[in-house]
């Protein structure tokens, strides 16, 4: 039995205190990290409720329902930041990453406390698979928000589209790792591969943005 609330308090208190002594961008990331951990705990409660009420087994809940609950719960604070603070999509990226990292960290903490951390190889795989998966979904989500904002598509369809991408990706990962053997290996590799692809796209987009800015400056100075 893991007392998840106690673990959360233990990790959250120093982070919360550190908020007092950090500057705006750092404190934003730390706050997002904390929110990510709280969201993880709430998602566990909701998934637990669904296990009892839906008639699904615990394994089926984690494969089919948890991805929906977890991604939706991670998406809500990002939307809150977007609408309440009216941040631009580029500013949302650190928030989204913080929430993803907090979520992954807390989930890994609880997992390691319940099943032990003796096997270093397994702990490494767990960290680079589940941990990266939560990050990848949040980075994709932030990039999607940036895209739909750029093209003025901030509608229900756009939001649901972006959310569904992260839900389905998470669901696919959970489905693959639920079966031992080759599917598990594919599942473990999936987040890392996606992280690399996303990084390349992100890098390319940023480069294009910079080139565009440079061109604009060049035109201005030319005038």
């Amino acid at each position: 039995m893991v007392y998840a609330e106690n673990v959360l308090i233990c990790i959250a208190v120093p982070l919360a205190i550190s908020l007092l002594f950090t500057k705006r961008s750092t404190s934003r990331f730390i706050a997002s990290f904390l929110v990510g951990m709280i969201v993880c705990l709430l998602s566990a409660y909701i998934s637990g409720y669904f296990t009892l009420s839906s008639g699904y087994s615990a394994e089926d809940t984690s494969i089919f329902l948890s991805p929906i609950v977890e991604e939706l719960m991670k998406f809500l604070p990002v939307l809150f930041v977007y609408f309440v603070f009216e941040s631009n999509p580029q500013e949302i990226q650190p928030n989204a990453i913080g929430i993803g990292a907090g979520f992954a960290t807390f989930e890994n903490c609880c997992f390691i406390l319940s099943s032990g951390a003796q096997n270093l190889a397994y702990v490494l795989v767990r960290g680079s698979a589940v941990g990266v998966m939560h990050l990848v979904t949040m980075v994709a989500l932030a990039m999607g928000l940036r895209l739909i904002k750029n093209y003025q598509l901030f509608s229900l369809a756009g939001l649901l589209g972006v959310l569904s991408l992260s839900m389905t990706f998470h669901g696919l990962y959970n489905l693959l790792v639920s079966e031992p053997g080759i599917p598990t290996y594919i599942g473990y590799a999936l987040p890392m591969v996606c992280a690399v692809v996303l990084y390349l796209i992100y890098h390319e987009i940023n480069q294009q943005d910079e080139e565009e800015k440079e061109n604009k400056n060049f035109v201005k100075t030319g005038e």
Partner: protein, 258 residues
């Protein structure tokens, strides 16, 4: 794993290849900032569809011959329909709202949702995830009318055929024996006849509203079957993807919507 499931897996892999072939140039155009709103929406919709297909692929391989419960890929399909619908909305030339078109879309998809519930028993998810199809069909009907893509008589025949197919589907529940077999066979033939008809029109006209209608029709056909005909409908659905891409590209070139 049954032979049918293996065939289904091969077809899904083929569909994945088609979707990836469509996504790559679209993403490239997006990175280079040369894409229109419609092609961005189309690209996002295809990514959703790709993930849904990958989910199916993983599920079919890991748990063959079992019915998939409510899962995350339902959201992907729903999002795909909404994203395609947003693209259609942007391209709609005439914003006039005619009540019979709303009524037709609601009744036709409503009847289809009722059929899905009767087939699967999953009333909640079929209702919730069926609603975007109403909006999608409504936009398609409006677009085909306002762009005058099909003559009035042809539109009327298609609507009548679609309605007859739904009625026959319902009749299948209350019939058996030889009568059931006859109804089922004629229904199947009609579905594929309409698919071929719309497919040929798509090739002739290369218009977004027609190709999207073909895609929707093949999806509805997929939901209607569970055997070899399901695979045939999947194949038609796969063929709809490059047709849609071609029509979206044409839209970008002809309208320059951004």
């Amino acid at each position: 794993m049954s032979l049918l499931t293996i065939f289904e897996l091969i077809l899904t892999i083929l569909q994945v290849v088609f979707i990836v072939a469509v996504i790559i140039p679209a993403v490239n155009a997006m990175i280079l900032k040369k894409s229109s709103i419609i092609s961005v929406l189309f690209c996002l919709a295809m990514v959703s569809y790709l993930l849904s297909d990958l989910y199916w692929l993983a599920y079919d391989s890991l748990r063959p011959d079992t019915r998939m419960p409510f899962a995350a890929n339902e959201f992907a399909e729903c999002a795909m329909i909404l994203l395609l619908a947003t693209g259609l909305e942007k391209a709609l030339p005439d914003k006039k709202k005619i009540s019979w078109e709303i009524l037709f879309a609601t009744c036709y998809i409503g009847a289809n949702i009722a059929l899905w519930i009767l087939w699967s028993g999953e009333w909640m998810q079929d209702t919730v995830f069926g609603l975007p199809y109403i909006y999608f069909l409504w936009l398609l009907v409006r677009g085909i009318r306002s762009r005058n893509l099909l003559p009035v008589k042809e539109r009327a025949v298609l609507i009548i055929l679609a309605a007859v197919i739904v009625v026959l589907h319902f009749m299948c529940f209350w019939t058996d024996g030889m009568f059931y077999e006859t109804i089922n066979l004629s229904n199947t033939l009609m579905i594929f006849f309409v698919s071929t008809w719309i497919g040929l029109r798509c090739i002739q006209k290369n218009d977004m509203f027609l190709t999207f209608l073909f895609f929707l029709w093949t999806m509805l056909a997929m939901f209607s079957f569970s055997d070899i005909f399901y695979n045939m409908a999947t194949l038609a659905n796969t063929l709809a993807i490059p047709l849609m891409y071609k029509s979206v590209r044409k839209e970008r070139v002809s309208d320059g919507i951004r």
